[in-house]
Symmetry: D2
Subunit: 506 residues, 4 copies
């Protein structure tokens, strides 16, 4: 494992309210804009993971008794702290992930919205109460905490995706083990420290850095009652199978290949501008990125291409830390090579490469993992660049004759995470949203990421499990239903009193 | 109108984001602990009220368009500001109302909880959506803002009761006119200023001080769509009739005479301690105060009395600004005289006055409106001190033979605001809570004020209207339902595209 | 009071499960298709109304205790009975109201849908439960029945509007007094009898026929806790003021003047066909009828007029009992004269009468109250036929330059019951539904009557009160919220047991 | 495989609306009261299962488009048909399962309640709608059907458990494959036929009889999106692991060992009477049966035992078809032997057998699988009769010193399905319900089976998955969330109209 000579810091773990270093295995964390590493991250042993679980279990007894309102107030306070520390956290994200600072701020802001929703806990945890379910019988449901639950999160949103999970889990009364991506672990850890500062008791939120060994320890341990995962589909599928085999509840969110349908009546300028962000924002390293346009009609395709080429020509690619840039580097050298190979394969399979970003050099950052924006026309089902998730700045145009054909393409694809349609027509929009086999659907909205008070999740092989991430579904995922049926025996103190307490009034 | 010579400040109004002085009618605001007045409050003319309404109406167009999430964030920010300014606001309350500082802080804290609930607006404003209400027909409900709404609030919780109303009203998208009590107007006005600082646009919340003239202007003006009122029952009834006559929606909360039933199996020590706060806290000037104990069985009554006498002997009465005191003065000289007259009448009607607070003198505060705690035994229905709301530190014991008799007393009373039962018995509690004709019911909880995420309201002549204050009911009160039914014609761009856009793919 | 010689039956009242005849005042019920009367209806005295109220109050004690599931099952059974007796009830409607049989069946069907919704009572009555509202403190809300409630209903939907009210009221645990329209009282009474047959206990639903004297008795009586009213705006306003003056909760639905906006991009054929039913169905005697088209652009207006004239030419007007007819007579001779006078005034005020239905004679029914369909062009604000609710088969075209102008017209009108827009454009529809000051909005749906699981209500002077009719709002209107806060003393049988029961196991 | 000579009928399958016979493998169905078999049941081949799936998938396209209200009405009609055919179905249950007729009727009634709840579909399927999630952006959630889903059900409630599943699944728009227990398949099949008669289209509900081969085919097939299972824990666990491995959503309900805690202050007579049904009803073959009493204090234990012995002495055991009997036979000979062996083991391990049902002979039914009621005292953790689910008429008493000890026993047990406490004390009940690690909790209710409008599910190893059976959770289990985010481009027909349609009005 290659370490840069400038490594000066090691990212450890947060257990029971303390930063912990195990001094065992570790791996370097690179700055994608320079290719250099000034940090390494520890990789937790199974024993350390178990220590974190033990800490969480210990904290659970008191935390479950804490009224939801008090738990919620920790979230309100954390929101304030994150707003105060936003620059610091955005810089951590950019330094390890590469995305431009404005994008890092945007990511954090989305995470804060999940914290805001978590602060509604007293409302969200209300159960249903039925008086006279039978004569003199009342029945009600409580949503009780599970105990210790875990989250395993990907590199592409190092701050936001953890915030999809643990705030909802802890306001529901659980204690949490977070295993962030080992590529860019620092922002999640920093946020966890701020959560302690905001009043979260030690042990309620633990962070363990690590790789498959840590994940396996979490999946195996019977004290972990639930696992939330976000990552690629093959891993999601394996996590789902393995976690369920151990009797846990699991929600595992996987990959995507989101299509945008552009109808002939669309506002093309708006669609072009929306697609620029959707395709190239954060280098396309988003599960809600839109790497495919299905243009209905050749004229539509031609107009979209003309607009996109104009916009692409204006794009600035360079280090994310420079606010003037529109797009930063890819996350790792390996990933850079992989994305480039996809572009090669697209050419080889016969798609027309209209804009080629492969030759890009960013002056002064020659070791950075920069790939310029790429644009393909005549992408077709069956091509690798059509079927697989590239997770890079590569946008492809597919030409279709009709909305029906466009929808068939989408419904036949393995993934069903997000999609959108650009149109002015109410009927086309309604037909599309109703019949498309995709979990998150936009109408003239290219990245239909649900707001924090709705829930996030795809269909088909983009999500394994039944409950979506964050929002209302998270309450149900992070709690177990307890249903109480109550009847009181009739002859108690009430009647007794009549006989026992004759009064001098008489 | 008598003005103290030391009056140095005049409380004005807040309209369109500015403090406004009309220099018309005014009246002094007294410090009940000293009987002196260092402030006066302006009494708005109808023209000024109309100006406030005009400001609110103007602000409405933009405010209704502001996404609920943004409106909610103003509340989150206001919560922070109130926590920072808690001491200042508590002092304003104590200086004008007289209650002890700890109690003023408690009042503010309860108000902050209403602000927290208001910050859940994105969740609370969700409407219900039905796909395929008919074939190809969707239907959904939106909760849209009313426009300009008003609140008229009492002296006894000068900070909290306004916060029951306007935060929910404004997060629902309305603009608000608050008319606080002219006895203690300063804290509500200060909080409104902080709301502006928190980001509420000018005109969204206006405060007009005044008396009946201002109230009448609000009730008459057709631009005011809804009125929330808290006060005494005769005024509540009149406001309800008058507001409804003008076609408005009105919720008018009135008086109370809350009974606590103590069962023979109760934890007497706990009941005594709970009743001390419930009867004498804030001088009994609370609509949820408990001025009556119904003891079931003489032994219960005797044990309660013994305990209460011991505790009363320890009470310290004096200026609210001194943290060592348990109870401050009554709010005004007139009210002091009125409460004293109730005690006289109780003696005259045959109740046994066990503890007499009428002779109390607080050294150095001889002009303050201090009345010591009073305790009656053998209070009976028909006596004035049984039937009427005293709003003073006067607790009466009623003796009953059975729970059935105790409940009959409560159900026969004009008011139905709050009540509670002290017992260990599940069946007694269930029977009581089910059959008692009271809106807010405690089991071993003397002041069952609903938490901010439930709603506040009494039954019988304690509330006129159908929706309770704050909590879930407030959403419905401060919004009007719009139900949309949508079907799209079938032959639109979708089919059109098939014919119009033959592709070269073929 | 003119009685037909053929009167053979008298419609009485249903009190405490029995048909009751007072033999006091009565008035004839006419068949609008013939102008003859074969029935008269008794007009209850205040004493009889009070007897009905007493019966309801008596029944309440047991009915409130009946589990919601059992109450709901009465509704399920009633649905079956109504389906079995549908022909009989439709004939009663047609004989007294005049509408064509298919329309009468449609009305009944809509009423049955309200019964279906009422059968969901166990779900609808669930309250919210909060564990640990504070440490060891639980809090929950119950929706308890009010007691005796009343409904006053109009002639135009003699079966359906009563079914908007009483099924929801009774499944919530209330007992009900229905005062149907004295013009066509028989169907509501017959349905009430079937409700008894379905298992509703005597006294839970009482029907009193009558006029203002009966209404006043209901409004005055303190035992009646809530009043639902549907009728014209002047009466609604008076009922609201009077009921509220007596401290009741009131919802009073009034008149309407619903506009349909037709955009240039609308599917004109669809809009024409939709408007035929919306304008002339049930002779326009519906509060959701659409008597005004606002055509955006002259071309739109001209195309609509061409289509409407063609369709009107095909319409068959005649007795409702003949299934071949599209439209029956108006409800009474007075109403016939009134509608005709409106047409006269439209001509006088300068609107262009394109189709004149005033001269219509229906062969063999010369004494029936038949008016042919009328169509005006160039209707303008200010004209009587624009401002007032005609409640007849009179459709007017208003020409507008833009959607903005069309919407301003609607928002300026006194009424805000229903409206709709015909367009294919998603943006136009969204803008319209968001900003229009109307409670029920259709997109390509001419009569956007909410389905039974949403709620019905207009804005502005079309509804007085805060809660809409039927659907979710009805639960809140027909129940009062009780909020319970519960804490148990700590040292009970639980700890006691440790000491008291040493076991031989040791 | 042993066939009785009197077998005259073969139970087939229901596919695409037709009864289908494959004439492949089959096995006899026995009458437990006689030990004879007059029926056999076909065991579906994988090919037949796939045919059923294909039928379901085909039916799905139209069924998902059917408005929820129409789907719900099929349930209302089915309820009527089941009430009409109740005797027939109860007899089928008794003939194959053995339970007494009254119990079979009770089971069917519970199933009908699930149908009633399913008929609330229009209410239950409402999604959440947010206007202005962002400026001009609306967002809402729809609960769309999954497609083809399957249910695998146990022998002990052959009619009810299928009705927990498929009615909710189909009203949500899914098509269903039911695989009932091969021990007693007839009632579920008969009910499915009635569902067709009630209007369920062919293919929407298919029934395949079979064994592991059929189950495996369902678990493997990618067209089956979700699986609901009720049975023993080992099978539930395997189904959960296998179904999840194939990417499906799975809810798998397993075994139970429900404890009833009896406190010293309990109404003992009530507790005894409740326990008789809870322990011996349906021979204890219920996952909510209560085979263990934890008596707090020896006096409590002794009083319970005295009462139980008296009641047991009165019990009548015999064929379920005779209404005079309290308890029928066990379900199969193998199960009879297994339960008897448990009793033997209890004696061997040192529990005191107070009542021994092993020697019971039912005259005229010597070949029936009858076991008399058994009662053990001094059952202790570690004994096989304490740890394992017996599913027979064997009740054990465990003696505890305190509620804390009783609760520790329960919380330490592998299962967490149901439990209850008998007490009069509010605090004991609240403490118990809050802290007990069990999903369904009764207070003075021995079998706290949630009513149909709440959800059914245990904790710990009694349920695998996150959503419970029937009630509100079933909606979420049988639907996938689709979240739509919609914004309309600004310059559409609305502005266009201003320019394009100058009017002659000017």
């Amino acid at each position: 494992m290659q370490h840069d000579k400038n490594v000066t810091a090691t990212v450890g773990h947060l257990i029971d309210g303390q930063i912990v270093h195990e001094h065992g295995r570790s791996q370097p964390v690179f700055n994608p804009a320079t290719g250099a590493s000034s940090t390494s991250v520890e990789l937790a042993s199974p024993a350390l993971v178990e220590r974190a679980i033990a800490s969480a279990e210990q904290a659970f007894a008191a935390w479950r008794e804490t009224p939801p309102l008090k738990r919620a107030r920790v979230m309100m306070k954390l929101k304030q702290l994150l707003e105060q520390h936003a620059d610091e956290i955005a810089q951590l994200i950019t330094a390890e992930h590469g995305k431009v600072l404005a994008d890092a701020h945007g990511e954090l802001q989305r995470g804060i919205e999940n914290i805001e929703y978590a602060s509604y806990a007293p409302e969200l945890l209300k159960g249903e109460h039925s008086r006279n379910a039978g004569p003199g019988i009342d029945s009600w449901a409580e949503h009780q905490a599970l105990g210790v639950v875990a989250g395993i999160t990907p590199f592409n949103f190092p701050a936001m995706v953890p915030l999809w999970m643990w705030p909802m889990a802890v306001v529901c009364g659980n204690c949490f083990i977070l295993k962030p991506s080992e590529r860019d672990p620092s922002s999640a850890l920093r946020i966890a420290q701020l959560a302690l500062e905001a009043g979260l008791p030690p042990g309620v939120l633990n962070v363990v850095n690590g790789d498959k060994a840590a994940v396996d320890a979490l999946l195996r341990d019977p004290r972990v009652k639930a696992v939330s995962f976000v990552g690629s589909t093959p891993i999601a599928e394996a996590i789902y199978a393995e976690g369920c085999k151990h009797g846990k509840r699991v929600q595992a969110l996987g990959g995507a290949k989101n299509h945008a349908v552009v109808m002939p009546d669309a506002d093309i300028q708006n669609a072009v501008s929306a697609m620029m962000g959707a395709a190239y924002g954060s280098c396309g390293e988003r599960c809600m990125a839109v790497p495919l346009i299905v243009a209905v009609g050749n004229e539509t395709a031609d107009r979209m291409i003309a607009g996109l080429k104009t916009e692409i020509a204006k794009m600035k690619v360079g280090p994310g830390s420079d606010n003037g840039n529109d797009m930063g580097p890819l996350v790792t050298r390996q990933h850079f090579e992989k994305v480039k190979a996809y572009v090669d394969s697209g050419v080889a399979e016969g798609a027309r490469l209209l804009v080629d970003g492969r030759g890009l050099k960013v002056k002064g950052h020659e070791e950075g993992y920069f790939l310029g924006p790429c644009l393909f026309d005549e992408v077709r089902p069956g091509m690798k660049i059509y079927q697989e998730e590239i997770f890079g700045p590569v946008l492809g145009i597919v030409r279709a004759h009709s909305l029906a054909e466009a929808m068939q393409l989408i419904n036949d694809h393995e993934y069903g995470n997000g999609t959108c349609i650009f149109t002015r027509d109410g009927e086309a929009a309604r037909h599309f949203t109703d019949h498309i086999q995709v979990g998150m659907v936009g109408v003239n909205v290219p990245l239909p990421v649900p707001v924090a008070y709705h829930s996030f999740g795809g269909w088909k092989r983009s999500l394994f499990g039944d409950l979506h991430a964050y929002g209302p579904d998270a309450v149900r995922f992070y709690t177990k239903r307890k249903t109480i049926t109550q009847r009181w025996p009739s002859a108690g103190v009430r009647e007794g009193a009549v006989f026992s307490f004759p009064s001098h009034h008489a």
